[in-house]
């Protein structure tokens, strides 16, 4: 045990003695953020070297999993809370006791830190709508306030979103809408918004990028994409709709890392006042978890602790995780891969609506129902067998065959519905 104690003592003294530790951080965050933290951290602890390993969340999990204990990276740092649950259930995280007492336990009703203490909230994130002011002016589009606005005909062909299977933050947005509006209404809204989209981008960054350069008018994004673009001088604006959720972006120590002490030092640093202040940098523009920091923020900086962001939805992580695979597969089958057909059907419905000028018409109602109803209803999504099927071992032959069959049913039903809706809507005089 004396050896362990010696190691501990050495590790504790390391920063003072200038012993070198390489801290490897797996993260999905953009380069501005990681560079700022690297510079500040290395300046404060000259003995430590920070190695950034930038991977999207899913790839990051796979990477941590594949490394042998003892050579794993030290820190995992990302937005999606689900990812940390996955790592925790794989026994890949290690508890960090210390923290910053100035960080509260909750934001709204949502706990900032993991109740088990395996990961800690490092910043907060909400989801919202970002738009290009020049694009909006050139196309004479009204400014939206709520997600429901984006489902209106006027935005047809001007919106962009990513797919939840590609982007953890888009999945959180989709899940927030589904939880806030309920399954059926939520999908009706999501389908109308997606039908209005000019593109379903492959990367979540494709949305803010496209809005910033004027390729798209509006996009569904995580707040810091919108705020950072605005603060970097792009002609864009960002709002939080009331039906949003504020969720922490987390940081955790990986179990079996090469130098856990160095990892702890970095986590501690990101939670300290100094580390939290970095989040306010113009090109980062994230929401700190330490309420006191907002006093030093520039005027107009959104403050989730003051009630300035409404955040009506209490995000249910367990529910989200239980149906994750069904939601992303469903979205891909009926939206991402059928986007051309969905957009055509949406367009036909809007045009019919315009021709009718407010008059009720059973054919149009039928067409709308065909386009904006998901092939899985609220009873089916509560079905344990369906959820289990999508969580089954990918090597299980019967399960994967059955899963493919279910997906094919969704896809062909969606395709047929979209085609039928176009027919019906076009027949409306």
């Amino acid at each position: 045990m004396s050896l362990a104690r010696l190691t501990l003592a050495a590790a504790l003294l390391a920063p003072a003695l200038g012993l070198a530790d390489t801290v490897t951080v797996v993260t999905s965050f953009p380069k501005e953020l990681t560079t700022a933290y690297k510079k500040a951290f290395e300046a404060k602890f000259p003995g430590d070297k920070l190695e950034i390993l930038n991977k999207n969340t899913a790839a990051g999990i796979a990477y941590v999993r594949e490394q042998q204990p003892g050579s794993r990276p030290e820190v995992f740092w990302a937005s999606a809370p689900d990812a940390f649950e996955v790592l925790a259930s794989g026994k890949l995280l290690q508890k960090v006791d210390s923290g910053n007492a100035a960080i509260p336990a909750r934001v709204g009703a949502y706990p900032i830190n993991d109740p088990e203490g395996l990961y800690k909230g490092q910043a907060l994130a909400g989801y919202g709508i970002m738009w290009n002011t020049r694009y909006m002016a050139a196309n004479k589009l009204p400014v939206p306030k709520e997600w429901a606005d984006l489902a209106k005909p006027v935005y047809f062909g001007h919106v962009a979103t990513s797919s939840p299977s590609r982007s953890g933050t888009t999945h959180l947005t989709v899940e927030t809408i589904l939880q806030g509006e309920g399954w059926m209404n939520g999908w009706a809204q999501l389908l109308a918004i997606s039908g209005n989209c000019a593109a379903i981008t492959e990367r979540s960054f494709g949305v803010p990028d496209g809005v910033s350069n004027g390729q798209f008018g509006l996009g569904l994004v995580i707040d810091f994409f919108g705020l950072a673009a605005k603060n970097s001088g792009m002609p864009v604006e960002f709002i939080y709709p009331s039906m949003t959720a504020i969720v922490p972006a987390n940081i955790a120590l990986v179990a079996g890392a090469k130098s856990p002490e160095g990892g702890k030092r970095f986590i501690q640093f990101t939670l300290s006042e100094e580390g939290q202040m970095l989040l306010l940098q113009k090109d980062i523009s994230r929401l700190p978890v330490m309420p006191a920091i907002y006093a030093k923020a520039p005027a107009g900086y959104p403050n989730p602790f003051s009630g300035a962001i409404q955040a009506k939805v209490n995000f249910d992580t367990e529910l989200s995780e239980s149906r994750y695979y069904v939601v992303v597969a469903l979205y891909d089958q009926i939206v991402t891969f059928r986007h051309k057909e969905l957009a055509a059907a949406t367009k036909a419905v809007w045009e019919a609506e315009k021709r009718l000028a407010g008059k009720a018409n059973p054919q149009l109602d039928e067409a709308k129902k065909l386009v904006f109803t998901p092939p899985v209803d609220d009873k089916q999504i509560a079905d344990k067998a369906l959820l289990a099927l999508f969580k089954a071992d990918k090597k299980d032959e019967t399960a994967s065959k059955q899963k493919a069959k279910v997906e094919e049913e969704w896809a062909s039903k969606a395709k047929a519905n979209y085609a039928k809706a176009v027919e019906l809507a076009n027949a409306v005089k």
Binding site: A198, Q215, M234, E397, K401
Partner: protein, 560 residues
């Protein structure tokens, strides 16, 4: 001459071992997954599952369509360009050839992103069109957007191979035809093009295969109804265990092998070898005044298109804000300062990895071409087929195969293989080897064996013949292979993302990718992209000069 000696056998075995370890085993893992069930037994269930998914059938058809159309469009661009610059007196022909290679050195996703700014929904061209005429062109939308970008990105394959092929044809054939009264298009159609067919077919089949399994471009354009994106989406979003992703990989492999063997069979069944390559080549022909105007106009148009992604990238790298306007409104040099402060290491890494990989490629390529075409070593065709498989492997899957296969392998000096620079060199070399090999094969196919026989009759041994006769005559093809390998490796991204275990090991393409993932970072990303294009462009031009100095007749466009 054709007896198999122990040296040849040893070389053959060494190459086979290399390919086995770094290509066959990772690929075998992929194939095994596609055909195995949970217990490890053989099954066809995944394939029947695949064929029952309408999306997969549609993606399959779309992939064929996009690849076929791209070959057609790329040929329309490249064939006149190659013919005009190699056969006619043309100022700046070398420049055109160098510029023609430029699209290849730009990672596809960067090129597509830059082209969005110019040709996209609110790109410069459409903003001007909308202002002046009130309509816009959906140039970058859907499958046709992919074809447009891929054509500009991959047509240099046809250009490079065809130009090398044309330069190797004895001009006396053409002179004979001209003496007999043939000229213009008829001369090209009846004499020049058929003789240059090996190069053309090599280039065209490369384009087909690269487009068939390209990932970056469709993803940036948000087109997902194609096979490669489907494989990528399945593997990355459903998980590494998803069998359909592996089924798609197997289909990609099968199709690529079919396309390659098709082109191989086509070249084999006719004799393209030309006996006389020596002597003085005929002076370059002159174009008539109208022809000159037409030709120059065509070349200017093509060059403008080819350079447009680079132009877009340059503007982006210099712009502070560029949003919904024809041109950026404020210019700045700060992005370059950021890059030089943060990322010189990445530039150096790119040169190191890609240079070593390309060197390895031409050595292996020359050796394999020689073994296949000039020896009767049993199983030599197998080497060629193995290399062809490398073309069809999506980098992502090969990368995963590497990580799995070589996990825990320690190298002296470098530490763990998968966490060292060595893995980049190997990964790049394996996937770029087919390019080098095609160039070397085409070059060797055009050298008539009688030249070597003559050397043999004069008492030269096999090695001496290879060194003094074969390699020098092949030099144009070898260099084309080196350049193609180098520049495409420099732009590779899917393997790179997977294999980068530390930022300090990362090459430039990874840096561009990283920067491009953030709003404020698009400028530095573009700046790094511009630096990459300039450095590699200069390298390419210099290599042309190098060949010109050593073997003037082998280089297109350097004859003044």
């Amino acid at each position: 001459m054709n007896r198999t000696n122990p040296g040849i056998v040893a070389i053959g075995l060494a190459i086979a071992a290399f390919l086995l370890a770094f290509l066959v085993v990772p690929v075998a893992t992929v194939v095994y997954t596609a055909f195995s069930n949970a217990e490890g037994g053989f099954t066809l269930a995944h394939f029947s599952a695949f064929s029952e998914i309408s999306l997969m059938r549609e993606s399959f058809a779309n992939s064929l369509y996009v690849a076929g159309m791209t070959v057609l469009c790329a040929s329309l661009l490249a064939v006149p360009l190659a013919y005009l610059t190699v056969r006619f007196q043309f100022r700046g022909a070398a420049l055109i050839h160098t510029l023609g290679v430029l699209p290849l050195i730009m990672p596809a996703f960067v090129g597509a992103a830059a082209m969005q700014l110019l040709f996209g929904r609110s790109g410069s061209v459409n903003l001007i069109l909308n202002d002046a005429f009130g309509f816009t062109l959906p140039l970058m939308e859907g499958l046709h957007g992919v074809i447009f970008v891929e054509t500009l990105h991959y047509f240099p394959f046809v250009l490079l191979n065809l130009a090398a092929s044309l330069a190797n044809i004895d001009t006396s054939m053409e002179e004979a035809a001209q003496n007999l009264g043939s000229s213009g298009f008829r001369l090209f159609r009846k004499i020049v093009f058929p003789l240059a067919l090996p190069g053309y077919i090599a280039g065209a089949s490369l384009v087909f295969i690269k487009v068939f399994d390209d990932l970056g471009t469709p993803l940036v354009l948000n087109v997902t109804n194609l096979l490669a994106p489907q494989a990528y989406l399945r593997v990355t979003s459903i998980g590494l265990e998803d069998p359909i992703g592996y089924v798609i990989c197997v289909i990609l492999v099968v199709f690529s092998i079919a396309a390659m063997s098709g082109s191989w069979w086509f070249v084999q069944r006719r004799d393209f070898a030309i006996q006389s390559r020596g002597g003085v080549s005929a002076p370059l022909r002159r174009l008539g005044p109208w022809q000159t105007v037409l030709a120059n106009g065509w070349i200017a148009l093509v060059m403008l298109l080819v350079l447009s992604p680079h132009l877009g990238l340059l503007l982006l790298s210099l712009s502070k804000v560029w949003s919904f306007t024809v041109l950026p409104e404020q210019f700045t040099l700060m992005h370059y300062a950021t890059v030089f402060e943060d990322s010189t290491r990445m530039i150096w890494n790119t040169f190191l990895y890609c240079g070593l990989a390309a060197l390895l490629d031409v050595i292996l390529g020359t050796a394999i071409a020689y073994l296949v075409l000039r020896t009767k070593l049993p199983g030599r065709q197998l080497l060629d087929h193995m290399v062809t498989v490398a073309l069809a492997m999506p980098g992502l899957v090969l990368g995963i195969g590497y990580l799995r296969t070589f996990r825990g392998v320690e190298l002296p000096w470098f530490g763990p293989l998968t966490a060292s620079g060595v893995i980049f060199v190997i990964a790049y070399a394996v996937r770029r080897l087919p390019y080098a090999l095609r160039s070397c094969m085409a070059a060797l196919a055009q050298i008539h064996p009688s030249l070597e026989e003559a050397a043999g009759n004069l008492g030269a041994g096999r090695w001496r013949t290879v060194r003094r006769i074969v390699v020098p005559l092949m030099m144009g093809g070898i260099l084309a292979g080196f350049v193609t390998s180098f520049v495409t490796a420099a732009g590779e991204i899917s393997e790179t993302i997977l294999l980068t275990s530390r930022e300090s090991l990362a090459p430039m393409s990874y840096g561009i990718y990283l920067y491009m993932q953030s709003i404020a970072g698009r400028g530095p990303g573009a700046a790094l992209g511009v630096i990459a294009v300039v450095l590699i462009g200069v390298g390419t031009w210099y290599s042309h000069r190098l060949v010109a100095a050593r073997a003037p007749r082998d280089v297109p466009g350097e004859k003044t």
